[in-house]
């Protein structure tokens, strides 16, 4: 019995660690929320002890009749004054913190659009004319506040990276704003937090917080055209990519593939995961995804290419993996 409880607690507490947890904040906004949570939890424990202590005291320890005045005073203090004070305190604290959660950014603006079921990500550095487009992964510089515009295509989604901040809905036809100030470099995980269809549960994203100089280097590289394929297999993969019509949906900058229906693949191989956080970025996952995306993400718009011979799928995967 005791072992069982201990095991259950281990499981529950273990989930509080790690890269998708409100309780291990890695940014200013998440710290505020985590603080608020701990204060409220502590307050709730104190109140619980207080109420149950009083009940015990009056029902078991000092069982005597109280005068009407004492009873009225008691009801007024515990029923009106105490809740009003506590709730007003919480309200004031929360209202003071709210503007911070949507303060303007300090230069970098990201536009994240919820698609079915992936994330379109565009970086607008200060003064940029056109964005640097990528997908399913956001990268942010540590120590400064970045602004995030949230849009949606078709259906509602919600953007939430628990380790970095609160969640904000993405609504078709309007742009919601939020801002995030990450503090600790690392890789975190986000998740669509509003039911958006068949593969809602398969719509995650990676959030990478980097040191500012490192971030600048990365964004500079991300803005460049795709790397030319190296090696015979990858070269054949590029030919296949173009001849099999992949460019009907995807962009690989620097090639004739320029469509914007699906995710931009210019630097796909440099991303941490594949298919919106569903698979690790490696050759085997790429082949699996290309041949049967439906089995990984039900209802997905990407058609399967299992009609291609295995060698062609390997070549395509080699090309895509090399797009770092």
């Amino acid at each position: 019995m005791k072992i069982g409880i201990a095991l259950a607690l281990t499981v529950v507490l273990a989930s509080c660690e790690g890269r998708q947890s409100v309780l291990s904040p890695a940014g200013r906004d998440a710290e505020v929320l985590a603080n608020l949570f701990w204060w409220m939890l502590g307050g709730a424990v104190v109140l619980w002890l207080f109420v149950n202590g009083l009940m015990l005291y009056f029902s078991r320890i000092r069982r005597k009749r109280h005068s009407l005045r004492v009873a009225q005073w008691f009801i007024f203090m515990c029923g009106v004054v105490l809740p009003t004070t506590v709730l007003a305190g919480l309200l004031i604290f929360a209202l003071r913190e709210m503007p911070q959660q949507r303060e303007p950014g300090e230069g970098l603006t990201l536009r994240v659009t919820g698609e079915s079921w992936w994330w379109r990500v565009e970086y607008w550095p200060d003064g940029a004319d056109e964005p640097v487009t990528t997908a399913n992964e956001i990268r942010l510089p540590a120590g400064s506040r970045s602004e995030i515009e949230l849009a949606a295509n078709g259906v509602i989604h919600s953007f939430w990276i628990p380790a970095l901040g609160g969640k904000t809905d993405m609504i078709p036809g309007r742009v919601n704003r939020m801002s995030l100030e990450p503090t600790a470099p690392g890789t975190y995980r986000g998740q669509c937090a509003e039911f958006c269809g068949l593969s809602h549960a398969h719509m995650a994203l990676e959030a990478v917080v980097m040191a500012p100089e490192e971030f600048e280097r990365w964004l500079g590289a991300e803005a460049r055209d795709a790397r030319a394929p190296e090696g015979a297999e990858a070269k054949r993969g590029k030919q296949l990519f173009l001849s099999q019509g992949c460019g009907g949906c995807h962009t690989v900058r620097g090639t004739p593939a320029t469509a914007r229906v699906g995710p931009d693949l210019t630097h796909l191989g440099g991303r941490k995961s594949l298919a919106a956080g569903m698979l690790p970025m490696d050759r085997q996952s790429l082949v699996g995804w290309l041949s049967a995306p439906e089995s990984i993400k039900p209802g997905v718009n990407m058609p399967g290419y299992d009609h291609l011979p295995p060698a062609d799928l390997q070549a395509l995967a080699a090309y895509l993996e090399g797009l770092t």
Partner: protein, 358 residues
């Protein structure tokens, strides 16, 4: 009047129950004799019993008018529809129903029921949607076969032809079907693969690999079309290769020259996925490109607009198959509206054909 009670007594039976048993035994005995012994004469030389013809015909007529509910398309009476129908009629129907001005075979005349001749007054009794129902469903136990495909839209050319058959002279018919000497493909697709009928695809703009792949799909049922199944079912692989290569040497030229510039521009934006839409770029697979990327994907530049629109509707709504990559087109077309289909068809029809062998 027969008094049942006296009848029962006279037959030496002991009540209504016994009479019922007797009747059941007689009926079963008769049915057994007809089915098991062959009492009924099924000879087509022997006519029906009196009244049976009336019962069969009336049942047939009422059954058709009860069930016919397809709405004819707007372009039902266009010359393109009529001549496409004439071509298929020549291939599949003329054998039994005769050509305009022609006679039925002596053998066909001996069928029971005898197939109505093209010019019979019978034909004018039916509405367009009733004709569609008859051609698509066929008629049980009459020799009239059902339509050998699932899709219903390519029955309309036959209906268009049947409705215009009253005015069709043998000369008009010969012109529409191209006469017998021109060969089966050329009858509809033109001697050089340039069909002048906008309902029928141009073949000169297609790669030989794509033509061969399509013929195989028609032959094996991957592409659902009764008209092309009739034409392709008997082709062997060598013939398909030969036919597929027959237009290769000719450089395609000319286009329909669409006048609705607005539609063409909308179609161009859509085809190149210039918007934020959910429809993949058509041009990534179907051109216009500088160099053909994949022999298995058809070039659409210069293709006839009504044909393209009909195929896009089939990709969107129907069970259209084709080559190995057919699934891609179902994904690509699933969100298209009728308007977008019209715009895309106009755009590709307005373009000059791309060279096949650059």
């Amino acid at each position: 009047m027969i008094d049942p009670r006296r009848l029962i007594e006279n037959l030496g039976l002991k009540g209504v129950r016994d009479l019922t048993i007797l009747i059941v035994v007689l009926v079963l005995g008769f049915a057994g004799a007809v089915v098991g012994v062959g009492l009924y004469n099924v000879s087509a030389r022997a006519d029906h019993f009196p009244g049976v013809t009336w019962v069969l015909h009336t049942t047939f007529r009422n059954s058709v008018s009860l069930r016919a509910d397809e709405t004819p398309p707007d372009d039902l009476s266009t010359p393109g529809m009529i001549s496409l129908g004439a071509g298929h009629y020549e291939q599949a129907c003329a054998e039994c129903h005769a050509r305009p001005g022609g006679q039925q075979d002596a053998t066909v005349e001996e069928m029971l029921p005898r197939p109505p001749k093209l010019f019979s007054t019978e034909l004018s009794r039916w509405s367009a949607s009733e004709l569609h129902w008859i051609v698509y469903n066929g008629v049980k136990m009459s020799g009239m076969p059902g339509w050998p495909a699932e899709r219903t839209d390519d029955v309309w050319p036959i209906v268009a032809f049947l409705r215009s058959a009253g005015e069709m002279t043998p000369e008009n018919y010969a012109a529409a079907t191209g006469g017998e000497e021109r060969g089966r493909c050329a009858m509809c697709h033109g001697a050089e693969g340039v069909s002048t009928n906008p309902q029928i695809p141009r073949l000169d703009i297609l790669s030989s690999e794509y033509v061969a792949q399509s013929l195989r799909a028609y032959r094996e049922g991957g592409r659902d079309s009764a008209i092309m199944a009739q034409a392709a079912r008997a082709l062997d692989d060598q013939t398909i290769e030969r036919l597929a290569n027959s237009f290769d040497a000719l450089g395609p030229s000319g286009s329909d020259g669409i006048v609705d510039a607005k539609q063409v521009l909308r179609g161009r934006a859509l085809a190149n996925a210039e918007g934020e839409g959910r429809t993949p770029s058509c041009s990534a697979c179907h051109g216009p490109w500088q160099h053909r990327l994949n022999e298995a994907f058809p070039s659409l530049s210069g293709q006839h607009a009504p044909y393209l629109a009909a195929q896009l509707r089939l990709w969107r709504d129907g069970p259209r198959g084709g080559g190995q990559a057919a699934e891609l087109m179902h994904h690509a077309a699933e969100n298209l509206t009728d308007n977008e289909i019209a715009a895309l068809a106009s755009y590709y029809a307005s373009r000059d054909p791309a060279p096949i062998n650059p």
